[in-house]
């Protein structure tokens, strides 16, 4: 069996008397597309922040890309990419300037940056738009560009926080094509979404309710387990019982 790229054991985060993330234990394997679902306020964001090395857990253990979550947060940051719904792109910079900037902050050499950015523009079909301001791009393209920029330093894991909000169904699927391509190349994808059909595209899914992981399996197994027709139904059954508000 392969070494997991994310491994957590009883990972917990408390804010005072409030337990935002409660004894999370799971593993994610290289190349896997891992769906991280949960109702609003279930603790997804808290968990994501810990895994990205942005906040320290209160207790429990975890390694990300083989690095310890307490002591090696800098190493972790070099090995992960992150894209949120609020893009990290600079609207007042051009496409190519954005790519170069992000390649630059991850310490790529000038030669690499040049090769990479050309590559990326080709791949996204954005050669003609390279000199356009990001603010002029349609939302779908921004999302694709944002994703490509998040993985420009070839991280082991990429965290996607509701990456496809607000786009049309065709563009949404094109985005998932990007995710599949990346996962085929061995990148681990950790993704949150509100679209339940997208949950089906994941290899495995975890569902958080009130700070705990209440279910974790492949979409088809989960549907069997809950005798449900769709992931939507599974989610509904689990999250309906949630007591907690944000």
């Amino acid at each position: 069996m392969q070494q997991p790229v994310i491994k957590t054991e009883l990972l917990t985060k408390r804010f005072g008397s409030f337990t935002a993330a409660d004894e999370l234990t799971f593993e994610v394997y290289p190349g896997e597309i891992f769906g991280f679902l949960g109702a609003n306020g279930a603790g997804k964001t808290t968990a994501m922040r810990m895994l990205c090395g942005l906040s320290l857990p209160s207790s429990g253990k975890a390694t990300i890309a083989g690095f310890d979550i307490y002591k090696q947060t800098e190493k972790i940051k070099q090995n992960i990419g992150y894209m949120s719904q609020k893009f990290s792109l600079y609207e007042d910079l051009t496409v190519i300037e954005n790519i170069r900037f992000y390649a630059g902050i991850y310490g790529l050499s000038d030669k690499e940056i040049k090769a990479k950015s050309n590559n990326l523009l080709d791949q996204l079909g954005l050669q003609n738009e390279a000199k356009k301001l990001v603010s002029e791009l349609p939302l779908g393209w921004k999302q694709k560009l944002s994703f490509s920029v998040a993985v420009i330093h070839q991280p082991k894991i990429v965290f996607l926080d509701e990456p496809t909000g607000g786009v049309d169904p065709v563009t949404r699927r094109q985005f998932w094509d990007l995710i599949y391509d990346a996962s085929d190349k061995g990148l681990t994808v950790f993704v949150t979404t509100h679209y339940m059909d997208e949950a089906e595209y994941c290899n495995r899914i975890s569902i958080m309710v009130d700070g705990r992981i209440e279910a974790l399996d492949t979409p088809s197994n989960l549907k069997k387990q809950f005798s449900a027709n769709s992931m939507d139904d599974v989610f509904y059954q689990l999250a309906r019982g949630a007591k907690r508000n944000e």
């Binding site: 607000g166 509904y236 944000e246």
Partner: protein, 305 residues
């Protein structure tokens, strides 16, 4: 009299450089639950702002409750309820203070129209001394809806009320809308989620300021052109790539646990040939079936035309 009419409405931004709404005409019946469905930038918010008299159209006319949106804007403002897309209430006021405030702005009191909001408000009443900023997404939404309803509007405009809200809250929200509809309120609601389309009486599928199709959800799916199949195997991504390269494939895209596929020349039955081709390529657990298209399938087809 129709609840809402639009006649050749066009609206541009930035001195005509950005076309937001492109020569639109449609009508909404009284008491209808009408959905505007489409991605960001489709023009949904602009339509709502035009109808709530917040914006002036470049050309065309429109009415709300039989009143002209330009001439009678003051009367319209008294009669409509509106929940803007980015609406987030006063974070530093409590639930009750927010509701009280909006009630008095509309010249009424919570008490006067309590019946209308009762169903919704009882759910958040236990938290009425809590500040709105500390509420969960679903509760904020309920409070916002209560605020929009407090003056008993005849037409209710809800701009993306369920965006960014989880499934459970979304389901609850749609149930609330259904109950409001039963009380005779005309509701116009916009959403980027295609699966919510079926909950509306009639829908308009929108993209880039245009209506792709407008009808009841059932009629829209009925109008789907061609046969639609769903297929799956044990390695879905491989299947997707191979099907896209298959010579008779017209379109193929992921759809939940299946791939949805349409064929060129679909009067011929391709199923057997395809299955043996895929088996040959090493796919196991193959399943292929014809299915009824969903609104999302229709939307994708309309986008490609």
């Amino acid at each position: 009299m129709k609840a809402v009419t639009l006649n050749n409405i066009t609206k541009t931004y930035n001195k005509g450089t950005v076309l937001a709404v492109d020569n639109l005409s449609f009508e909404v019946e009284k008491g209808e639950l009408f959905g505007l469905i489409g991605p960001d930038g489709a023009g949904k918010s602009t339509i709502f702002r035009l109808l709530t008299t917040l914006l002036l159209a470049d050309s065309g006319t429109a009415t709300v409750d039989g009143l002209d949106i330009v001439k009678d804007f003051k009367t319209i403002r008294k009669k409509v309820g509106y929940m803007p897309g980015k609406f987030s209430l006063y974070q530093d006021l409590t639930v009750e203070e927010n509701l009280n405030f909006f009630a008095s702005i509309f010249g009424t009191t919570i008490h006067e129209n309590y019946e209308l909001i009762k169903d919704i408000y009882v759910q958040i009443e236990p938290f009425k001394t809590r500040r709105a900023g500390k509420l969960s997404g679903g509760m904020k939404q309920k409070l916002a809806l209560s605020c929009a309803l407090i003056h008993k509007p005849s037409v209710l405009f809800l701009d993306e009320p369920t965006t960014g809200v989880d499934t459970v809250s979304r389901k609850e929200f749609w149930q609330m809308l259904k109950r409001l509809k039963e009380q005779g309120i005309t509701i116009l609601v916009s959403t980027p989620y295609m699966d919510e389309a079926n909950l509306c009486d009639r829908i308009a599928l929108m993209q880039s300021g245009k209506i792709l199709s407008i009808d009841t959800p059932a009629n829209i799916t009925k109008a789907y052109d061609g046969k639609l199949y769903a297929i799956r195997s044990s390695s879905m991504h491989k299947l997707l790539i191979e099907l896209r390269n298959y010579e008779f494939t017209e379109s193929c895209f992921a759809f939940g646990e299946y791939l949805h596929i349409t064929f060129k020349k679909d009067h011929i039955d391709h199923t057997n040939a395809l299955l043996s081709y895929l088996k040959h390529n090493g796919h196991t657990n193959l399943e292929l079936k014809t299915i009824e298209p969903s609104i999302e399938d229709c939307f994708i087809q309309l986008l490609k035309q």
